[in-house]
């Protein structure tokens, strides 16, 4: 769904003071233009305040100890779980906190591997020779390598949906790729390199029809658009705190309750047990079963504050703002000779990660010129190397936005591209 507007619904000038970092300069006094929120977002002061307040006043281990601090810390940690659950329309115990989204995907992949030696209740997670694991060609490495590895460990076959020339998934062969032997389909909601928003329920419906599980990489969607697991026919979703104004060191796995109940553990140790004997143990129910060791407590508190901040703005507003910026940038880039966008050319089913190449200028060199002017963009393969191969480019330059960016930032980017073209003498 895309909303096209003449102006952003957000008052960016009112938002920016919440992010002290954005007021700084870089290099020789150039005002910072931060256009790399797809990699990591900047944090509003209230996120740091919440962490600081927690650490200075209530820090203690969670889920143990009978003292007041322990209760406060546990309440703060579990309140964060509740807030995240509400933010994505999930049940409280369906939220598992991990180190990051990468760990969350690995959790599912390794748990599926562990199903081979778990009880009969875990049967539906088992994969072996002849079974299929399906991904897409546009996955971030984080949603590719864990499945490559699971396939290698189990003898299953890794298959993927390929890409069309304009940056979409080729769905013509959906039924051939997701066949009767498919055990799980893992794919990205919004591509971190192309910006493409994938038709989740269309793909999930095919997965459902063959009894396959569905895992959604929501790292670029949960921070940027309204997201409800109730409207998506999926089994697992992952996202990270630091891409949604929250702290680094915390990620989220959402899983359907009935699946988490029977999913074997990945990491084992303290906090995730029911009973422990010298020769065997039983495990706690979810979500604790998947949170071995001391969890990211203060990070959860910070994430809670980030969720509150985003909710106060309103995710529909965030989405509309980014759609506006994306449309503006696609238009501006279209006016620059020698610039080619890698990804969908319009804002239809497309989010705010805009990758492009400039004829005659390597992305690293472009990034250097932009950096000299204070403009921070990502250059490289964006942890999606197969996408670069697919489109015949060594690397791309990517601009990605958030609630604190405005059209002035994008104008500075486009000016910088022109400056780089003059500097490297590639204009005709």
């Amino acid at each position: 769904m895309s909303i096209q507007l003449d102006a952003s619904p957000l008052d960016v000038q009112a938002i920016r003071p919440d992010f002290p970092l954005l007021a700084r300069t870089v290099r020789d006094g150039a005002p910072l233009i931060y256009l790399d929120s797809g990699a990591t977002s900047q944090k509003p002061e209230i996120v740091l305040d919440a962490e600081r307040e927690f650490v200075l006043r209530s820090n203690a281990p969670v889920h143990r100890g009978a003292y007041a601090l322990g209760e406060e810390a546990t309440d703060a940690y579990e309140a964060a779980r509740g807030a995240v659950a509400e933010f994505i329309g999930a049940a409280f115990s369906e939220i598992v906190f991990t180190k990051n989204a990468t760990e969350a995907i690995n959790l599912v992949a390794y748990a599926m591997g562990n199903a081979a030696t778990a009880g009969v209740e875990a049967e539906r997670f088992r994969v072996g020779p002849g079974d299929r694991i399906v991904v897409t060609e546009m996955e971030h490495h984080a949603n590719l390598l864990p499945w490559q590895q699971l396939a290698q460990r189990t003898g299953a076959e890794l298959v993927w949906l390929s890409l069309t020339p304009d940056g979409r998934l080729a769905l013509d062969d959906l039924e051939q790729v997701i066949n009767e032997r498919t055990k799980i389909v893992a794919f990205v909601h919004q591509s971190n390199i192309l910006g493409t928003i994938n038709p989740v329920n269309l793909i999930a419906a095919r997965a459902r029809s063959v009894g396959a599980l569905v895992l959604l990489d929501a790292c670029q969607s949960v921070p940027h658009m309204p997201f409800s697991v109730q409207q998506l026919d999926i089994d697992f979703a992952v996202f990270s705190g630091h891409k949604m104004l929250g702290p680094s060191g915390i990620g989220v796995l959402w899983g359907r309750q009935e699946l988490l109940e029977v999913l074997p553990p990945f990491l084992t140790g303290g906090s995730m047990i029911e009973q422990v004997f010298m020769d065997r143990s039983t495990f706690a129910p979810p979500p604790q079963r998947f949170e071995a060791g001391t969890p990211p407590i203060s990070q959860a508190v910070g994430l809670h504050a980030a969720v509150r901040y985003l909710s106060a703005i309103g995710m529909s507003q965030v989405e509309a703002h980014e759609t506006f910026l994306t449309e503006y940038l696609l238009g501006r880039l279209g006016e620059v000779d020698g610039v080619r966008v890698i990804g969908p050319p319009s804002v239809v089913e497309r989010g705010g990660a805009v990758s492009f190449v400039v004829d005659g200028i390597h992305p690293h060199d472009l990034g250097q010129v932009l950096d000299d002017r204070g403009v921070a963009v990502r250059v490289g393969h964006h942890c999606a190397w197969p996408v670069c191969r697919r489109y015949g480019v060594q690397a791309t330059t990517r601009a990605s936005f958030y609630v604190y960016n405005d059209v002035d930032d994008l104008d500075r980017l486009v000016e910088g591209i022109g400056a780089a073209q003059r500097f490297f003498g590639v204009l005709a």
Partner: protein, 173 residues
């Protein structure tokens, strides 16, 4: 503006018109290196003289940014036709310069045109770019048998080849 400090004319010239480019035969060893952070890659061949003491030819195919492309081009000019001993000294000086964050005053006697890359040292993210070709050369040299008999080739008390190998993120495929 600091851009000109990094993108010296020598660098831009070599980028636009790279020297010694193309893969040639015969060769003693061929390596393929990539910079995993950006995907830049190089295939590089080294041919030593029959007695194994000098570098007879360095040929390559590479894709990458101006810094990586100019760096390998300058390197082939500096290292081809010289003794392995001399070349290791140059390579070690180059490495020290670009990894110094600007603290090492480059020796133009040794580094010649390669001093143009001194500005790269101020941008840690670009050091791997400047070293891509040099790491490939060092690896190919070792495989061609060139580095093995010269443990004392450079007077830095450390094994220069080990030093070179341990400081770059480039992977050998």
């Amino acid at each position: 503006m600091k851009l000109e400090q990094m993108y010296q004319e020598i660098i831009l010239d070599h980028y636009r018109s790279p020297k010694n480019k193309g893969l040639r035969e015969p060769y003693g060893a061929e390596v393929h290196h990539v910079n995993p952070t950006c995907g830049d890659e190089i295939t590089l061949r080294v041919r030593l003289t029959d007695d194994g003491t000098s570098v007879d030819d360095i040929s390559y195919e590479a894709q990458g940014c101006s810094i990586s492309q100019a760096s390998v081009s300058v390197m082939t000019e500096l290292l081809t036709g010289h003794s392995v001993e001399h070349d290791l000294e140059v390579a070690t000086a180059f490495l020290a310069m670009v990894q110094s964050r600007g603290t090492v005053e480059p020796d133009e006697e040794i580094l010649d045109d390669a001093v143009a890359f001194a500005g790269v040292a101020r941008y840690p993210a670009r050091v791997k770019c400047a070293l891509l070709g040099w790491m490939a050369w060092k690896d190919a040299l070792a495989q061609a048998g060139g580095a093995i008999d010269l443990p004392d080739a450079v007077g830095n008390q450390t094994d220069p080849t080990k030093d070179l190998a341990s400081t770059n993120g480039a992977v050998h495929e």
